[in-house]
Symmetry: C2
């Protein structure tokens, strides 16, 4: 049995001049993989008839499923719908349920007049099946030709996601055989990619043909992923489980989690399971640690809040960092972050406090304190621990790495490893 | 003169299963566009020999420049280097400067032994020119064939960026003619895409062939971009300027900025030019507004700090929200956010205070307060203003939209529009 294959075509000049980052493709790829469809490649093309036609022709050759996103809006640069109408030799007709839906959105919800441009969004080629879009004005469309299925979706991320989950995936499940694919992912911290590779070299040679290992390094943490493919779901899952258990043992000293979760979710789960709470005192990360801890549902169970002490005055007034510390060793120092972690924990009455203070760049360094130098502190009732890092990325990455490292230190404190 | 054309090929299974979002392509596309190179498409393929070979063959047909990223690491799933060696019929040799560089990184900086796997990273095909990589262990490579230039770069984002800026772009500038491309971008807020399209319909018909208009909607704000292409740099820039001035007049009521800057940079610049400061009081956004305000260089000039009052107790203890307010109208209320904005401004002694409190989902709603309901408050010395929003996205997008809207309200208060 051959695996069902898919291509993702994203449409928009903005993708080719780098003005926006394509998050849609990753979402779609994930959803397809989850049901065993193999994504052979992803291609981004401009709002340009020839490019889209060429991409459609090429994609049609080796794939069963072609998913297009973008170019369905109400403006002149949105050319996907007329192009598909021509490609599949249809003619445009009004889709009545969509027209009613759009009218309702404009007239009843937005209290705005319905204009011709909006009415046009309810037009679809008569050769497609409409995938009703509850979340916006542009309908999804399904075209079928030579056993291939072509799905056209709007590029607006939340609309695209809704259509994938509620319309596209159910249609694919009904119409294509699934070739089971399984993934097992774990997260390591504290070891570089090449040393990790040495460590698991012997393990890697024991893997069967059907299981692949991938390294996904990301700023001080490395994820390892096993991927298995087979027609036999039970068999491949069994093999994946067995090899994954072996892998976990090999990397035990560096293992953060055996789930495909980011660091902050691992720590959030740890805190929830212990009924414990944390507060943050952030200087150089400016709220990013708070954002990571609170971006996932259920975070109010363990995240109490924090102080963003961007200005040194706030460190003194809200986090009890003495002016003496600021004047002698400075804000980027062991003394400052330890005091910050202790103070935010005490003042917000939580089990843990986390603090950071550093020089994120592109300027602000001194002779003693280079660019990328950052102190991180973590405290509980019994003790305070701090560590200095020297980072070498740009400002944004330095902020991200600092947040990751801070949350990892919190994790190590929670599980009594520091 | 034909424009120099390029394709970007990103390599890695993780791109096809949706485990990571491809930010490299956007960076490369932006850099190429900046020097007038047209990106015809971008393609992502797996760690798979046939897919990479096919992509190389296809890209070679219509392009002058092919940029590959990924698959250059030290592990077994990194197959790009041997594949290119075969594709361009070379043989592997040690590149001495790279070997010295790698040895230095491991032995002198990391104080770790140099292992065979690392030594292998200094091997390159003898048919390439090495693009020395100061920022990591995998060297960049340049292959030339049939007038085409093939650049192979590591996929690690900061290494790729350094190589693009310091090695690839200079080589392209030296070897290819530039066909000037110009962009003018502005940002609007407070008007939907279709109404904006109505508004600028007449303007759009006056645009010459060489200038294209694009709409880039993004959660309540819409960017408009004019793109001009011509062999005559002076002429196209002149035409772009003239049309851009007209466009700005047409959208004047909704114009946030005529630069390609995000909202928070516009507001940061406003504050800097007035020598004013702001503090944040965040509940449902958990630090994300602080992150936006502080992620750009120079933000310490205007961002003083904030309180993340995720737990209601923090609203009472740090932001003077009375328990009466919490017990009667609740934390997601006009009274609560107005008090929060006033308190954080006063307690942190800034010119402005911004506050948010809402229900980001996926749960937490009540009969009176639906999912996505969020109150935003802004205050200065003279007054406090607040507004309620009803958002309909998922948790992460709700957080992003809330932050954008809060920063926009701050902007309107600064320029006396509310």
């Amino acid at each position: 049995m051959n695996r069902t294959q898919a291509t993702i075509i994203t449409i928009g000049d903005e993708l080719l001049i780098g003005q926006v980052i394509d998050t849609n493709s990753a979402y779609i790829a994930q959803a397809l993989n989850h049901i065993g469809v193999k994504v052979t490649n992803r291609i981004a093309v401009g709002d340009d008839k020839k490019s889209i036609n060429d991409a459609l022709d090429a994609a049609s050759l080796n794939n069963d499923i072609i998913i297009l996103t973008g170019g369905l809006g109400p403006t002149a640069d949105d050319i996907t719908k007329p192009l598909l109408n021509e490609y599949f030799k249809g003619k445009m007709v009004i889709h009545q349920p969509t027209l009613e839906h759009i009218t309702n959105i404009f007239v009843n919800i937005h209290k705005r007049p319905m204009i011709e441009r909006n009415r046009k969004q309810a037009e679809v080629p008569d050769v497609c099946e409409v995938l009703f879009n509850e979340t916006g004005t542009a309908p999804g469309m399904l075209f079928k030709k030579d056993k291939n299925f072509y799905f056209s979706l709007p590029g607006v991320p939340h609309e695209m996601r809704w259509l994938i989950d509620n319309q596209v995936i159910p249609v694919i499940k009904q119409n294509f055989q699934s070739h089971t694919i399984g993934h097992r992912t774990l997260l390591t911290a504290g070891i570089g990619e090449s040393f990790l590779a040495e460590l698991i070299n012997d393990f890697e040679t024991t893997l069967p043909e059907a299981i692949k290992l991938a390294y996904l390094p990301n700023f001080g943490v490395v994820r390892l992923r096993l991927t298995g493919t087979s027609a036999d779901e039970k068999e491949i899952n069994h093999a994946l489980d067995a090899h994954f258990e072996k892998l976990k043992k090999v990397v035990a000293d560096y293992l953060v989690t055996d789930a495909d979760d980011p660091m902050e979710v691992v720590v959030g789960n740890l805190l929830k399971s212990r009924n414990q709470t944390v507060a943050t005192a952030e200087s150089c990360t400016g709220g990013y640690i708070g954002h990571l801890l609170s971006k996932h549902a259920g975070s109010s169970q363990f995240y109490t809040g924090g102080v963003i002490s961007y200005d040194n005055r706030i460190k003194t007034e809200f986090l009890d960092v003495s002016t003496e510390i600021l004047h002698t060793v400075g804000a980027v120092s062991q003394q400052a972050v330890e005091q910050m972690a202790l103070a935010v924990r005490k003042n917000m009455n939580t089990d843990y406090g986390v603090s950071v203070s550093g020089i994120m760049g592109p300027s602000g360094q001194t002779n003693e304190k280079p660019l990328g130098m950052v102190w991180i502190g973590v405290a509980n009732k019994e003790k305070v621990y701090s560590k200095v890092f020297y980072l070498r990325f740009d400002r944004i990455r330095n902020i991200e790495v600092t947040a990751n490292q801070a949350i990892n230190l919190l994790r190590l404190l929670i599980i009594n490893k520091i």
